[in-house]
């Protein structure tokens, strides 16, 4: 990746050994990464390691006995739990697809058509992104409620008649997921569309390509890395989503995140919850590997060349 290739350089050249001050600067430069490394080892890698250890531990009555067993995984991959796991994958995929279908035209208009309104519209996309996720989801509870605003609109448009029974169903969860993650989908797509140089599109037009051809053969390949990033940024957190199903799904719309949560603050079966968490991480790992084969990964979009 380009960032690393440009790396060895300047700062190390500036510290020439000799005076104690230079030695101090030399050491400081090499030791800075210790700060993030130690902190993340303590509060990120350490905790994750404990979860993995717990996933193989035995659940005793109200406690945990460390050991090595696969029963937690067996339990997590059978019956109701397996059903929820698969259901979560399907829902995350559907939610990502939904957000993509809505986000793509929006990002295209923002990045290529908005002209001087670009900043204003981009900020309008960012307002929901900066508003509390919990409150945004809560608001859908009011919007979708029987007798609520959405029902009134749908009845008025003759798209639906009578009471709206969407709350506490999968339909509400799908709407909440798509809504909640739409800004995360739009932002990388917008950046990608925004970066396509106008001269290239003009060249394509001058060479006789129609608008559709230009879009398919020039624009789309250029925004592809952004598309992959956007899909990953949406899909990955959706697999562990907790707030949306908890508020909008009721008993029928439980997803994996809620299931893990209830093993900790409900049933108190920590090893089972840990095994589920490990399974979710494995799933994400598999998705990442699949994606890294499709693209060079985050790097293409992560750092501008």
């Amino acid at each position: 990746m380009s960032a690393v290739a440009a790396a060895p350089g300047r700062t190390s050249a500036s510290s020439r050994a000799g005076s104690p001050l230079a030695l101090l600067a030399w050491a400081f430069e090499r030791l800075t990464p210790l700060l993030p490394l130690v902190w993340l080892a303590l509060f990120f890698l350490g905790p994750l390691a404990f979860t993995i250890i717990y996933a193989f531990a035995n659940a005793t009555f109200g406690g945990v006995e460390l050991g090595f067993t696969l029963t937690n995984f067996q339990q997590a991959l059978s019956g109701f739990y397996l059903h929820i796991f698969l259901h979560t994958i399907v829902f995350a995929a559907m939610g990502t697809a939904g957000a993509f279908v809505i986000g793509m035209p929006l990002a295209y208009v923002l990045g290529r058509k908005a002209g001087r309104y670009k900043t204003v519209l981009a900020v309008a996309v960012l307002i929901p992104f900066w508003t509390s996720f919990l409150l945004r989801t809560l608001s859908w509870e009011t919007l979708l409620a029987a007798g609520g605003p959405i029902q009134a609109v749908l009845n008025f448009l003759h798209l639906h008649s009578g009471q709206l029974g969407w709350i506490d169903t999968n339909k509400a969860v799908a709407i909440g997921l798509i809504y909640g993650y739409l800004p995360l989908m739009v932002i990388p797509l917008f950046v990608a569309f925004d970066r396509v140089p106008a001269e290239i599109l003009e060249a394509s037009k001058d060479l006789g390509a129609s608008r559709l051809r230009t879009f398919l053969n020039v624009t789309l390949p250029m925004v592809r890395p952004g598309v992959f990033t956007a899909i990953l940024l949406t899909f990955v957190p959706m697999t562990g989503e907790f707030v949306v199903p908890a508020l909008l799904g009721g008993n029928k719309g439980v997803l994996m995140g809620g299931l893990i949560y209830s093993q900790y603050l409900g049933a108190a079966d920590y090893p089972l919850g840990s095994a589920m968490a490990v399974l979710v991480m494995l799933l994400i790992g598999m998705v990442l590997i699949a994606f890294s084969r499709l693209t060079k990964g985050f790097d293409e979009v992560g750092a501008p060349a």
Binding site: V4, F50, L106, V109, S132, L138
Partner: protein, 300 residues
Amino acid sequence: MSVLQLTTRPGLRARTRRITRRVDMIDTSLWALTAVIFVFLLAPIVTVVIFAFNQGELGKQTSVITGFTTRWFAAAWDDPSLRSSLMVSLKVAAPTAVIAVIIGTAAGLAVVRHPWKPVRRTLEALMYYLLVVPEIVLAISLLIYFTRTNFTLGYMTLIAGHSTFPIAVVALIVRSRVVALDGALEDAAADLGARGWRSLVDVVLPQLLPAMITGLIMAFTFSFDDLLVSEMLATPTVSTLPVYIFGETHAGITPNIYAMATLMLAVTLIGFSLIGLFYRFFGRRTGGDQPSLTSTVAGH
């Protein structure tokens, strides 16, 4: 230009006009679609504001407007649990943001400039792991970890738990700035005798300031909004605002919450305007090559 050439040939004129009209139609429908999507994006936020002034029934929020009132704002202000959880949230979010900026900036600098490749690689991998681990997994991991290692749950554990994810966000934003730094400035500073620490403080960090401030705001917002890590690590005395709100929702939404959400939204919008002004100011002073607000928020 190509259109002009085509129209010089009479037979093609009608066709060109047809194509132009079709292109206009595509544009119009794209804009119409955009308008609908914006309604979808902003409807829940507008709803919160409107229903904050709703009478409700029996002290609960209703899905229809039952009358206009401003009493929920007073009620929200007088609610002691709401107030104390808001205070806890602020007391956790502020140090979290500072820690995330310090550690994230160190990581963002080192991931580009550290002389040893394994260090750069490790930091980069860690940043991406942080971004892809779902919050629920991090939340339960922290709970197991802190209870197993006999940490007492409280402010410190909450701050430590909240800081991890924003570190990655800050590091990514800072990294993209470090990559784009103009090395000539540091060379000039070195020629004038500023090396190492001096160069970092006087030359490098000022250039990273906009990225660090964006990171600070993002880290604060993340901590302030976080539900899952707080749910797992909260204690009866140290419990944040989202935990309180989430607990309240089980018994139906109280209008207090919408009133407070409206106030928070106002604060967010004011914050937004301030960042906008900040960028305008910075952009002008440094000759306009600072990143725009949107591009920095998007992390590039």
